[in-house]
């Protein structure tokens, strides 16, 4: 399994790591049982994501996709951020090994979870807009987090 140079760069020098104390929205996805959790903090001003930070527990790809996802949504409107797909994250990183594709899904979900939180805080039901945000994205394979479900 080999990572692209971009992935290694974002792993070695992750962009936007940390927390935002007075964040307008926070989203957390993943499950420690599966070995990856992403937490994303957003600062939103006038419908625009003015600042974004993340914290991730996970493999190299999980850290790199979180970092790239924050880059892709920074300065964007909420609507634009919702259009950032796992594919876009993957392409921006020059691809991921097949077993790591779920990390990019997790990154997409982290953005969505944070935006859902934002809608909720503003009295808007996020589900019709954002859809359901899962906490596990190992849909294509048996996953330890579903073993006790």
């Amino acid at each position: 399994m080999a990572y692209s140079e971009k992935v290694m760069d974002h792993f070695a020098n992750p962009r936007n790591v940390g927390e935002i104390e007075d964040a307008d929205a926070v989203g957390e996805v993943g499950n420690p049982k599966c070995g990856d959790i992403m937490k994303m903090y957003l600062k939103i001003d006038n419908n625009i994501i003015t600042d974004v930070k993340f914290k991730t527990f996970g493999c190299g790809a999980a850290i790199a996709t979180s970092s790239m996802a924050t880059e892709l949504v920074k300065g964007k409107t909420i609507e634009e951020a919702l259009k950032v797909t796992n594919k876009a994250v993957m392409e921006a990183l020059d691809g991921l090994p097949p077993v790591k594709v779920h990390c990019s899904v997790l990154a997409e979900e982290a953005i969505k979870a944070a935006i859902s939180d934002y809608y909720q805080k503003n009295g808007i039901n996020p589900e019709p807009i954002v859809g359901k945000v899962g906490s596990c994205c190992h849909e294509d394979a048996p996953c330890p987090c579903s073993m006790d479900k």
């Binding site: 399994m1 290694m8 792993f11 070695a12 992750p14 790591v17 940390g18 957390e28 420690p32 049982k33 599966c34 070995g35 990856d36 959790i37 992403m38 937490k39 914290k55 991730t56 527990f57 996970g58 493999c59 190299g60 790809a61 999980a62 850290i63 077993v99 790591k100 190992h138 394979a141 048996p142 996953c143 330890p144």
Partner: protein, 397 residues
């Protein structure tokens, strides 16, 4: 990168210079086929037979009990499958093994299970050790084979193979042990141990990859493995890997010379690293501290994930490995870490460092400096770490 430290000797080892010097002539000058009648063929044949004696002498075996193979996986496959099929003809269809075996053993046994064998997996205790009594209790008159590893490749635990061997001998059940991680690292004397078959692999003791041996005690009947020419007394056909076999003999001789004092030195270095790294908050040692391979260190650091730990250490010049799901290529962390009772959440954060005689105190110092640094960097970006530090439960129910 201030330094390069190779600390993954359980994965493989570099070949030492004296071993290369011994093997090179057999690639270039003395390249003859050992089955050929002319001089360079005869010379190759003599060297292969001499290598058989040298390997045998290092483990207390007779040369006639050593069969050369392509490595540990082949030796395991041969011993387990062919013994099972041989025994099946006598109506025996039960195999006993442990739940911490290498995949080379586990997958053989799983194949046999699909072909009608019953398998008992002996569970290790939380220190990663098999209880011989459990083996004794599992034996029935249908038992065809017991296969329990000599030392574990992940957590380094040394199994009570002498006791297990005694039990198997008393019950007349053949006993195989995968000693790939043990040979050349701890003293083995098969003339005093009740081991019927033993697998070893050269690249784990500073020999080349792709060559190993299966020891089969005199009097133990087993099917041949590869059909073809008459090599290896008709049991394992194929033109011998002459250079590899000679290198293995040179390497095992080197490894077994002063083995006790060398392993004590490595053990001391290992213990120093373990005690320093245990000072890291929320860390633990996996596997028994005493019944342990000299060079093995296996620890978990809560709140970090193994693959990113390995990548970060690589950036510092340290080669190590992990039993996390991401490094195992599946979604589950290593079966060995789960077998000793670790929850998935903690097993994901494992680190294995394995030392050899080529490591020195400066390497140990460097590891002691860099591991805490890297763990702390990863924890700083881990959303779990805040919870762990506050003592909040982040796993289980």
């Amino acid at each position: 990168m201030e330094r390069f430290v190779y600390a993954d000797n359980s994965a493989t080892t570099p070949i030492i210079k004296s071993v290369i010097d011994e093997m090179l002539p057999f690639l270039e000058v003395k390249f003859g086929n050992p089955s050929s009648l002319y001089s360079i063929g005869r010379e190759a044949k003599r060297a292969v037979e001499c290598a058989r004696e040298r390997v045998a002498a290092c483990i207390g075996a007779n040369p006639a009990e050593i069969f050369f193979t392509s490595g540990g996986s082949e030796s395991d496959n041969w011993a387990i499958k062919e013994m099972a099929y041989y025994q099946m003809k006598k109506g025996k269809n039960h195999i006993i093994t442990s739940n911490i075996e290498h995949h080379a053993v586990l997958h053989c046994v799983q194949t046999l299970a699909k072909r009608g064998f019953d398998v008992t997996y002996i569970k290790v205790n939380q220190n990663g050790i098999v209880d011989p009594i459990d083996v004794e209790n599992a034996i029935t008159d249908k038992t065809a084979l017991v296969s329990i590893m000599y030392a574990n490749n992940e957590i380094g635990t040394i199994q009570p193979v002498d006791d297990i061997g005694r039990i198997c001998r008393a019950r007349n059940v053949p006993f195989h042990t995968d000693a790939v991680q043990a040979v050349g690292h701890i003293k083995i004397d098969l003339s005093k141990q009740n081991i019927d078959m033993l697998s070893l692999s050269a690249h784990k003791f500073h020999g080349p990859k792709g060559v190993g041996a299966l020891y089969v005690r005199k009097g133990i009947r087993i099917n041949s493995f590869i059909d073809g020419g008459a090599q290896e007394r008709g049991k394992r056909a194929g033109t011998e890997n002459t250079a590899g076999i000679i290198a293995m003999a040179a390497a095992i001789e080197h490894a077994c010379k002063d083995i006790e004092s060398k392993s004590q030195k490595i053990t001391d270095m290992r213990n120093r690293i373990i005690s320093e790294l245990l000072k890291i908050e929320k860390s633990r040692l996996n596997g028994d501290l005493d019944k342990r391979l000299p060079g093995n260190i296996n620890m978990c650091f809560e709140g970090v994930e193994g693959e990113s730990l390995i990548l970060k250490l690589d950036m510092e010049g340290i080669c190590a490995s992990s039993g996390s799901a991401c490094t195992s290529g599946s979604l589950d962390p290593s079966h060995v870490l789960l077998a000793i009772g670790l929850p998935h959440e903690i097993a994901h954060g494992s680190l294995r460092l394995s030392l050899s005689e080529l490591n020195n105190q400066e390497d140990a110092d460097y590891i002691i400096e860099k591991v805490p640094k890297v763990v702390s960097e990863l924890r700083k970006m881990s959303p779990l770490w805040e919870k762990i530090k506050k003592g909040e439960k982040y796993y289980g129910v």
